[in-house]
């Protein structure tokens, strides 16, 4: 097992290199460069400044040279500074946006998993019942509803018409002057709608996986056996069927890990949440290569780690894979 993990770990190094190289080339090839934004369509903007910055940023060098320079620094975890006029370090820029995105995504993930498992299991055990049909319609409506549309409707209802919830941002402007508990409530109130919208959209996929996985498991012989032993249906489902049905779901969960640091641009824009999604999109639009690359490295690393974790946990959870592995090595 350890050897397997180590081998996978070593393999991910060239993989990561490949990912960053291709990303670097692709972003560099995209038409337009970071400087088209510093010297915009304005009659008074001076071209000399642009020349100078091109040199300073090293954009006059061939792409492979730029990449090599970037790589040498990146291995020391130095991702450089943003090309934008704020000139701030990439890691600072990412660092100040990561916590809120991570926080939101973790809560969303917890709610989605918490809701999707029972929904899926119940749908599967009562396949084609009224409950199954209703939840199917419900989750598919959620899946098909555009985020921005639902978000705006909810904002109009709860923010404008009823005035129960704040519309945008993370905190009220007089937040510093509220009592401790009021502060917590204020923060929470700002998060209700964005989390609700994101959860509603994400519920469908997950609960369908759960339902599907459960449906396959309940047809298995060992479930029949459990029933034949005279176990209660409750025991059969929760002890024997569910544990096996969760296996594929774990893989999906692990693969969703990199998604945790990528925010939804649409939700972040509508609710004015300064998260990772906005940062990524803005940096791409302004061709802010260092920030784009910094972001990509994090996402790529997480994806590779997630794959690894998925494989390993799979082995841990599923005795067949574990034992199979031992036999194979002998």
């Amino acid at each position: 097992m350890a050897l397997f993990a180590l081998r996978r770990l070593l393999l991910s190094i060239p993989l990561l290199l490949g990912i960053t190289f291709i990303s670097y080339v692709v972003i560099s090839l995209a038409p337009g460069g970071p400087l088209d934004f510093l010297t915009p369509e304005d009659p008074n903007a001076s071209p000399e400044v642009k020349e100078r910055l091109i040199k300073e940023f090293g954009l006059d060098r061939p792409v492979y040279e730029q990449y090599w320079k970037w790589l040498k620094r990146a291995v020391h975890l130095d991702f450089g500074r943003s090309f934008l006029p704020d000139g701030r370090p990439v890691l600072t820029k990412i660092g100040e946006r990561l916590p809120i995105t991570l926080f939101l995504n973790l809560i969303e993930m917890a709610i989605i998993v918490g809701l999707a498992i029972p929904i899926g299991v119940l749908s599967a055990t009562r396949q084609y019942s009224l409950y199954d049909k209703i939840t199917t319609v419900f989750v598919f409506v959620g899946f098909a509803t555009p985020d921005f549309w639902l978000a705006l409707l909810l904002l109009i209802l709860f923010g404008v018409q009823l005035g129960w919830l704040p519309i945008s941002g993370l905190r009220s402007l007089n937040w510093e002057y509220l009592s401790f508990w009021r502060q917590q409530w204020d923060f929470f109130a700002h998060l209700i709608l964005p989390i609700a919208v994101a959860t509603f959209g994400g519920l469908a996929g997950f609960s369908r996986y759960m339902r599907q996985s459960m449906l396959e498991v309940v047809r298995q012989d060992y479930v029949q056996t459990a029933r034949a032993k005279g176990l209660s249906e409750r025991m059969v489902i929760s002890k024997h069927a569910l544990r096996n049905a969760l296996l594929p779901v774990i893989t999906i969960l692990a693969l969703a890990l990199p998604g945790l640091i990528g925010g939804s641009v649409i939700i972040e824009s509508i609710f004015a949440i300064p998260g990772m999604g906005q940062l990524m999109v803005q940096s791409v639009f302004s061709r802010d290569y260092p920030v784009v690359m910094g972001n990509l490295v994090i996402v790529a690393t997480l994806t590779l780690v997630a794959n690894l974790v998925a494989d390993i946990t799979y082995g841990l959870v599923d005795p067949r894979i574990r034992f199979g592995g031992r036999r194979g090595r002998r």
């Binding site: 038409p31 304005d42 100078r52 109009i156 704040p166 945008s168 402007l173 510093e176």
Partner: protein, 552 residues
Amino acid sequence: MPKGRARLHHLLALAICGALAACNGELDSRADEVVTSGPPAYGDTFIQASIGDIGGLIPSLTSDQSSHEVGAMIYDGLVKTDKDLNLAPAMAESWTYSRDCLELTFKLRRDVKWHDERPFTADDVVFTYQTMINPKTPAPFKEGFMLVKDVVAPDPYTVRVRYAEPYARAVETWSTYMLPKHLLQSFAEAGTLRESPQNSWPVGTGPYRFQEWKPGEKVVLVANPDYYEGRPYLSRIVYRVIPSQATIFLELKAKGVDYVNTLTGIQYARQTEYPAFRKAYHKFRYPASDYTFLGFNLKDPRFADRRVREAFAHAINKQELIDGVRLGLAREANGPIRPGTWAYTDDVKRFAYDPEKAKALLAEAGWKDRDGDGIVEDPDGKPFTLTIRTNQGNDERKKIAEIIQQRLKDIGVQAEIQLIEWAAFIKEFVKPRRFELIVLGLGTGTDPDQYVVWHSSQRGPDQMNRTGYANPEVDRLLEVGRRSCVQQDRIRSYHQIQRILAEDLPMIFLYYRDALPVVSSRIRGVSPAPAGILHNFDEWYVPKAQQRYTAG
């Protein structure tokens, strides 16, 4: 006194309207008259919604609008633009030209202090100049400083600027935000201004002091009690970054923001026309400082023929564009100079909407529908087809392109529309001049000098003469215009330039958009003028009884 002031404002609003002729009576009768009641009081927080975050806090290094809006509150220049778009004293109490226009002397105010209590002196001015011309300083707008021969400070409150040749925009150049020498010298010399603390924690001399910048979230400023023009009434300004236009609008409806200047035409004209909104906000409307145009590529042999350009001008109905795209919230443009400024003239040639005349002109230029397919062809049978290009994400420009496409079809010209992402659009099409027609906007400064847009020497790929326009007479007038410091002499040049451009038609000037700000009605003291409404921001206040945010 309060009543008298209100009447004065009303008169002012009418005066602007009269001067601009293009006023839409119906809308303007609904535009707001400003009420001032209750004595001015200090306090309250002013919340402005901003669609984009600021780029940095040294505005000279940035080119985005948000940075300059915030920068204008923190920093000051030697001169400023007053409510009538004329140059007025700011940190300089006066300025004089030498007789030959080559030497400009500023007398500085003695009571100006940096936000860290250090006095502001002529040394800071010299330093700002040196920083701006330093090749290591990545300032996008340094053009005006490159023409300066030298800057000296004979005493701490006098600055003498010398020019090698007369430069008309000399005074305007010094509206640049002054930078603190004592904090920035080492960074400026090392070329690391962007990384200096000043870029995230600025010290200026302006009416507001910096308090906090949470990237992507908000910028907070507090009133500067030592401001040389007196402490501003509003205690705190919060710029909230709300990237979605729809959300800004909802925040406005829920009274969560006090000032929005990014409303769309339909939001301004229709969706905010209900009693509760009219009670909560005042709406204002005045011409913004940029125009939208349809640019020809004059390198294209088809457009080198003036008759074709005239035909296109006759084919396009500007009023239809204004009504359709801006819901009437714009003013017809006939030249590149901002209406209402001293150099503007409306005595120029106009091309009325007349498709028949357009067809006749095309026929005269050899374009006739020879095979009866509705599209005109040249004598060799090649149909007149072209592509109108503009940038993606600008709904207004897209609609303009669509309407123009239809109008061109009426005269037998088949146009495709291509929307391209901004960076690619500029780099692949606009700069190498690989286009036929483009829809774009151009800003007009306070000064009418547009040498870089129209002079034939400015046709390079990184220069601003995008259509490739060249006319020796215009070249000469542009040179004359920028080489005088006497306004009366300059007026003649600029009037003449406007007349020639209107006839030469290097582009079809479409319209000047109206700026459409709305301000919470609890804010008093707003006084609309040709320059807009923000010119007297430090006089805005909220009467004690209506202050909403006690904190700060």
